[in-house]
Amino acid sequence: MRNKIILLFLIFRFSLGFAQTLRPFKEEFRFAEHLINQKLYSEGIYFLDMLRSSNDYNSGKIDTINYLLGKIYYNQQMLDTSSNYFYQVSTSNIKYWQESSFFSAFNQAFLGNYAEASEKLNYRYFKDKMMVQLKNFQLTGYSLLNRNYQVFDSLSSQFKGLYFQFAKQEGQLMEYFQDIKSNKRKSGFLAAMLSAVIPGSGKIYAGKTGQGLSNLFKSLILGGLVYESYNQAGTDNARFILFSSAFSLFYVANIWGSALTVKVKRNEYRDAVDRQILFDLHIPLRTIFH
């Protein structure tokens, strides 16, 4: 009887330890999703890395792990790492593979790597018609971000507006394209010349009215100081030399600044349009996959 009790106890302890290693993958997956939903990202990464390194899983399960890691890094805005994990997901699970393909590419686009984003998506071949159209839409967006108008023209001609999930965004892309084309390129040289004639006018021409008026006001103040010095004491005194030097320095800096402002304004416009394009590329991914 005593031996039986000891045996029972040993088997119980053994089975407990054995059971810990035999948790079904479905349960592990649900637990990983729980960690993501609770925003316990560091624990999620620790857990999934542990599962990956256990080598007990087939490729389908490894895909799920990579997919979840991609999601965790995406939620933490670590887009490069997220993109790499998403890209490793294979076709063993079609649903994850589709989502991973698009997010892998989109993450690269968000980081400014438009060519890489196009490459990641270009060699993914989808059977589902909506996925094919979505791929076309995303690639069109990346070509517009890259300002590759030839590719944009050829891809956008395949827009059909069939799917409500991104029909509106297809129209938006065409509008952004028109907007970019019609945006007149301003001349830095002309801005500099205008500022040479009337200080601050070059900045107003470049689109920075407030800065232009401020520079004009400061120039008038400095000019007034130079005039008063000249009027009261002539040119041969320290006051005149000091104020006229300050005025000259400011005048030259204003001309140079006006030329640079054209470039700054151009970059601001480009960034604003790119942000809008990325926003519109992201909407259908969220709608379809979340």
Binding site: R30, E43, E228
Partner: protein
């Protein structure tokens, strides 16, 4: 083997995976072994299974111990806020409330710690438990600059446990001066150099006053010599720049000194209170 023996063995084998308490024990053993990351994960697994609210609460409490070991007090506090504080196990609820107050204090969230202690005083009837948190209540009130209330508690605490604390030596005859409010801002706006000097930067105060005085004198001198436009623009402009810089510096200096004074005062009292509490628990 008889068939009854086989039956019992199979039952044990099949039941083992479903024992959540066993899961908790695994987490406990990882905690004892110092593997905080592994322990946190296993406690979270128990929380995820959520089979019994008492076991879930236990797991939440123990997970917060892991966070505390890793000195992640904000995370400990966030974790504890998931607990159900109105479950049937009173002693567990109290332990969780105590940990919330302690984690909030360690995370620097003194208002949260104070609120939790107020709730404990309201909801918990066990006077022994409430008494065990007196030291934390005193420390929290000190950090919230409520020294009058803290002093009353220290008197009672000292009397109850015969701790031999000298209240007058601890709190002194005057509390540290905390300079703030409208009156002080007007003073800084009128004469920032004076405020800087008063806050211990005499040299800075003199220099600041000198610079502003110099700018004003320059402006007046220029105007008197018929350089009216120069006088107003350069003198007035310089004066304005030095003035706003001085006011900003005076306010920064005062805030820094306030913090320094409060910290020095509180640190002295808090160390004495903590030592008294440690000795009390020892004996």
């Amino acid at each position: 083997m008889q068939s009854t023996d086989k039956f019992y063995l199979i039952c044990i084998f099949l039941c083992a995976p479903f024992f959540t308490k066993a899961q908790l024990q695994l987490a406990d053993s990882l905690f004892q072994a110092g593997d905080m990351y592994g322990a946190k994960l296993e406690y979270e697994r128990v929380i995820f299974q959520n089979i019994d609210s008492e076991i879930t609460n236990q797991a939440i409490l123990k997970k917060s111990f892991c966070y505390k070991k890793l000195e992640k007090y904000e995370k400990s506090l966030q974790n504890l806020q998931r607990a159900n504080l109105f479950s049937n196990n009173d002693s567990l609820n109290f332990a969780i409330r105590r940990e919330i107050a302690l984690s909030a204090y360690l995370a620097g969230e003194f208002e949260t710690a104070g609120n939790q202690i107020t709730q404990i005083n309201f909801y918990v009837e066990d006077t022994t438990f409430k008494a065990s948190l007196k030291y934390l209540e005193i420390l929290t009130l000190n950090q919230m600059l409520k020294w009058d209330e803290a002093k009353i508690l220290v008197v009672n605490y000292n009397k109850k446990y015969k701790l031999d604390l000298n209240i007058n030596a601890l709190y002194g005859t005057k509390y540290p001066k905390v300079r703030s409010g409208n009156k002080f801002e007007y003073l800084a706006a009128i004469y920032p150099g004076f405020v800087q000097a008063r806050e211990g930067s005499l040299f800075d105060g003199i220099i600041s006053s000198g610079l502003r005085g110099g700018a004003l004198a320059w402006g007046i001198h220029q105007v008197l010599n018929d350089f009216i436009f120069s006088g107003i623009i350069t003198g007035g402009g310089l004066y304005y720049v030095f003035y706003t810089g001085a006011v900003h510096y005076a306010l920064e200096l005062t805030n820094e000194n306030n913090q320094r004074r409060i910290k020095k005062y509180n640190d002295f009292i808090n160390i004495k209170i903590l030592n008294a509490e440690i000795n009390r628990k020892k004996y």
